[in-house]
C-alpha cells in the first residue's frame, strides 16, 4: 500500500511523519505547480472550487509516481470539502486511474472513533504506537506553525531581503528530516537561533495585516501567490486566523489541548453579523475581522476561492463588519488565473491605503500629490 494525500501548505510534513511512524509507504505528490492546476481544471467539474481541482491534479501526479491509496479527510457539511474524496475518486475512475480510498470522517462524538479508524490503516500496531505516531505528526505541524509566526516578524523588518526565507526553508528541511521528538526540538532551536542572527531594522514602521478566509487558500502558498512572503517584502507583518495545528486540535482532537487555539475567541466575535455556523470557515472569517481589530491590526485581507459558499456569505456581511469595527477589509478571490500582476497591484494599493490611514490626518496635511 502506497499512500498519498493532497498538499496543503506545511501539512505534508506532519502527515508524512505520522504515516511513516506507522510503517506505511508514503508517496508524496510533487509540489503544486501550474501543471497540477492544468490537470485539475481539465478533468475537474467546471464550477468546483479551486482546492478540489488542485487535489485532483495532486492525485493524478502522485499516481504517476506509483501511489495506489488516497488518504483524505471527510466532513459532514455543509461545505463541499466533505464530499471531495468521493467525487475525485469517481472522476479518477473514469480516467482509468484506480485508487483505494481511505477517508477519515471527523469524529462526531469522541476522539476514540478517530483513532479506531486510523487503526484500520495501521493494522496490527498497538494503540500506543498509533498515539505516538499522531503525536509526532502533530508536534511537527506545531513546530512549523510556531516558527512561521516568528518568521513574519523578521521578514517585515529584515535588512537584507531574503535572509529570513533562507532560515525558514532550512528549517522546513530539517523538520522534514527529523525522526524523533528531540530532533524536532533541535530543528526549532536552530531556527530560533538562526532568526535571532538576522539583522533587523526595529525602527521601521511596520503594518500589521491579518489574513482571514478559507483554509486551503490561506495555507497553500501556490493558490494565494505566496501572499505572506510578498507582503513581508513590502514590510508588512502578516498573521492568519487559521493555523494548521490549531485546526487539527479543534477538529480532529476536538480541543484536546485546552487553551491552545484561539478558535473560540474568534467565533465569539461573529454575532450579530453571523449568528449561526455556516460551514467551512465563514464564521471564523466574520469573527476574525473584529478579533484582529482588537489585537491591534491595521487591516484585514479575506482570501477565498471562486464559488466558495461559506466565504461568499461572509463576504456579503464583511462591509458592515468593517464599517462597525473601523478596519479596512479587502476581499481577494483566487481562481485558476495565474496572472500575478492584478493581485499584486491590489495588495500594494491596499498597503498604501493602510499606511496613509495609520499616519492619520496629520499626514494628510503634508501630503504631496505626485503627477
Amino acid at each position: 500500500m502506497k499512500v498519498t494525500y493532497p498538499h496543503m501548505g506545511n501539512m505534508a510534513i506532519g502527515v508524512k511523519a505520522m504515516l511513516e511512524e506507522l510503517g506505511l509507504e508514503v508517496v508524496l505528490p510533487p509540489p503544486i505547480t501550474k501543471k497540477t492546476l492544468t490537470l485539475g481544471t481539465k478533468y475537474g467539474p467546471e464550477f468546483a472550487c479551486l482546492p478540489l481541482k488542485l487535489n485532483l491534479g495532486n492525485f493524478i501526479e502522485a499516481y504517476e509516481l506509483g501511489a495506489d491509496t488516497i488518504l483524505m479527510a471527510g466532513g459532514t457539511g455543509p461545505c463541499r470539502f466533505g464530499y471531495y474524496a468521493y467525487v475525485e475518486q469517481e472522476i479518477l475512475r473514469d480516467l482509468g486511474i484506480n485508487y483505494d480510498l481511505l477517508v477519515l470522517e471527523p469524529p462526531e462524538r469522541n476522539i476514540m472513533e478517530f483513532i479506531a479508524k486510523l487503526k484500520k490503516i495501521t493494522g496490527n500496531k498497538s494503540i500506543f504506537q498509533v498515539i505516538k505516531a499522531i503525536k509526532k505528526g502533530f508536534l511537527k505541524i506545531k513546530a512549523a506553525d510556531e516558527i512561521e509566526k516568528k518568521v513574519v516578524f523578521f521578514r517585515a523588518r529584515e535588512i537584507t531581503k531574503g535572509a529570513t526565507d533562507r532560515v525558514w526553508q532550512e528549517f522546513l528541511q530539517n523538520l522534514n528530516r527529523a525522526r524523533e521528538e528531540k530532533e524536532i526540538e533541535e530543528a526549532v532551536n536552530q531556527a530560533v537561533v538562526g532568526l535571532a542572527r538576522i539583522p533587523v531594522d526595529l525602527t521601521r514602521e511596520v503594518l500589521k495585516i491579518g489574513v482571514v478566509g478559507e483554509i486551503f487558500t490561506l495555507l497553500e502558498p501556490f493558490t494565494n501567490f505566496n501572499i505572506e512572503r510578498y507582503l513581508g517584502s513590502l514590510g508588512v507583518e502578516v498573521h492568519r486566523t487559521i493555523y494548521l495545528s490549531e485546526w487539527v486540535n479543534d477538529h480532529l482532537f476536538l480541543g484536546f489541548f485546552k487553551n491552545y487555539s484561539r478558535h473560540k475567541e474568534i467565533v465569539k466575535e461573529a454575532p450579530p453579523f453571523l449568528c449561526h455556523f455556516i460551514g467551512g470557515h465563514g464564521r471564523e472569517t466574520v469573527g476574525g475581522v473584529r478579533y484582529l481589530k482588537k489585537q491591534g491590526f491595521d487591516g484585514v485581507i479575506q482570501l477565498l476561492p471562486f464559488t466558495c459558499m461559506p466565504e461568499i456569505v461572509a463576504q456579503a456581511v464583511l462591509p458592515a463588519v468593517s464599517e462597525v469595527a473601523g478596519i479596512p477589509v479587502l476581499s481577494l478571490v483566487v481562481d485558476e488565473h495565474t496572472g500575478e500582476a492584478g493581485f499584486i497591484t491590489r495588495l500594494e494599493a491596499f498597503c498604501d491605503l493602510l499606511s496613509f490611514r495609520k499616519k492619520g490626518g496629520n499626514y494628510g496635511k503634508r501630503r504631496i500629490f505626485g503627477g
Binding site: C49, G77, P78, Y83, P272, G279, G280, F306, V317, A320
Partner: protein
C-alpha cells in the same frame, strides 16, 4: 401587521405552509410579484458579485418588498431533514439581508431538523410565540398549515409542478402520457419563470411533459441516493440525485435536462455525479443548462429545440439512431 414573503429560494417549497400559518394567526401576508427584469436588476445591484443567481433574485424580491410591509419573513432554514443541511447560503441568509440591504425589520427564526425531524415544528412553534402569546392558537395554526402543506406535497407527487399550484391562474392538469422529460434542479430555479426562461412552459409548448425532483417523495430519493458512496449532506443534492434516478427507473423518460445556476456549490459536485451515474445505468440523453443573469433567450431555445428533435421528433419520424449521412 403585514408580513412580506419574498418570492425566492424556498418560497416554492414552503409557501402554502407559511401562508396558512400567518393567516391563522391573523397576520396579513404579502408576496412580491413573480420575478421580472426589475426584480433581477434590483437583486444584481445589491447582492455580492459571486453569489449564485437565486440568491441575487431573492435580494431583488426583498428590495421590492422592503418598503411595502411591516416585517420581512426570512427564516433560517438550517436543515429540512435529519442529518442534512441545505446550503451555507441558506444558513447565512438572514444576516446577508439584514446587513447587506440594511433591512433591519426581519422576522427570522432558526428552523432545523438536524437532530430530530420534530425539531423543525418546535422551531415553528417558538417562532409563532413571537407573534402571539397564545400558545394554543400557534399550535392550531401550525396544525392547519401542516395539513395544507401535506395536501400540497400530495399534489406534487401526482406530477403537478409548484408553479402550477402557486402561480397558476387556470387549473393545469399534467398529462404523463406525453413524451416525458425529467428537469433536474432546484425548485427555486425551475419554477422561477423568468430565471429559468420559462423552461417548463417551453417543453409543454413543444408537446412534452415535465417531471422534476419535486414530484418524487423524499424517502424514495434517499433510497436511491444510497447508490452513492456517501450520503450527500445537502438535502437538495439527495432530492436531485435520488430524484433523477427514481424518475429514470419509474417513468419512460425521453431525456434528462439539468438546470444549474452559475456558481452553485453543491450542484457543481452533484451534477457531475448525476451525469456519470445516469450515463452508466440508463444511457439517457442528458442536457446541461446553466442559467445566469444573462437574458439572451435564444441560446437556450436553440439547445432545447435541438434536444427535442434529437429525443422525440426522431422517434416520431421512425428514424433509427444511426446518423443520416455517411
Amino acid at each position: 401587521m403585514k408580513v412580506g414573503i419574498p418570492r425566492g429560494l424556498y418560497f416554492y417549497d414552503y409557501y402554502p405552509f407559511w401562508e396558512t400559518f400567518f393567516q391563522e394567526l391573523g397576520v396579513e401576508v404579502v408576496t412580491s410579484k413573480p420575478t421580472d427584469k426589475e426584480i433581477l436588476n434590483l437583486g444584481v445591484e445589491a447582492a455580492v458579485d459571486d453569489a449564485c443567481l437565486p440568491v441575487k433574485v431573492f435580494f431583488g424580491h426583498v428590495r421590492f418588498l422592503k418598503d411595502q410591509v411591516d416585517y420581512l419573513f426570512i427564516p433560517r432554514y438550517v436543515s429540512e431533514y435529519r442529518r442534512t443541511y441545505i446550503c451555507p447560503k441558506f444558513l447565512g441568509l438572514p444576516e446577508m439581508i439584514i446587513f447587506r440591504l440594511k433591512a433591519p425589520k426581519v422576522l427570522s427564526h432558526d428552523l432545523t431538523a438536524y437532530q430530530k425531524g420534530a425539531d423543525f415544528y418546535r422551531g415553528v412553534y417558538v417562532f409563532g410565540k413571537k407573534i402571539t402569546p397564545n400558545g394554543m392558537k400557534v399550535m392550531r395554526a401550525t396544525y392547519t398549515a401542516w395539513k395544507k402543506q401535506k395536501a400540497y406535497l400530495q399534489k406534487k407527487y401526482l406530477g403537478y409542478q409548484p408553479q402550477d399550484l402557486i402561480d397558476g391562474k387556470q387549473e393545469y392538469v399534467p398529462d404523463l402520457k406525453k413524451p416525458l422529460f425529467a428537469v433536474v434542479g432546484h425548485a427555486y430555479n425551475i419554477n422561477d419563470r423568468y430565471a429559468s426562461m420559462d423552461l417548463i412552459k417551453k417543453i409543454r409548448r413543444f408537446g412534452g411533459e415535465v417531471l422534476t425532483p419535486d414530484n418524487v417523495p423524499f424517502a424514495e430519493a434517499v433510497k436511491k441516493a444510497g447508490l452513492l458512496p456517501k450520503k450527500p449532506f445537502w438535502s437538495f443534492a439527495i432530492k436531485n440525485f435520488g430524484g433523477s434516478i427514481y424518475l429514470a427507473e419509474n417513468y419512460p423518460l425521453k431525456g434528462v435536462i439539468n438546470l444549474n445556476s452559475f456558481g452553485c456549490g453543491p450542484d457543481s459536485i452533484i451534477t457531475e455525479l448525476t451525469e456519470r451515474y445516469l450515463k452508466r445505468k440508463f444511457s439517457l440523453p442528458f442536457l446541461n443548462l446553466t442559467i445566469d443573469e444573462h437574458t439572451g433567450e435564444a441560446g437556450l431555445v436553440t439547445r432545447l429545440e435541438a434536444f427535442w428533435d434529437m429525443t422525440v421528433e426522431r422517434s416520431f419520424a421512425g428514424e433509427s439512431n444511426l446518423p443520416a449521412h455517411g
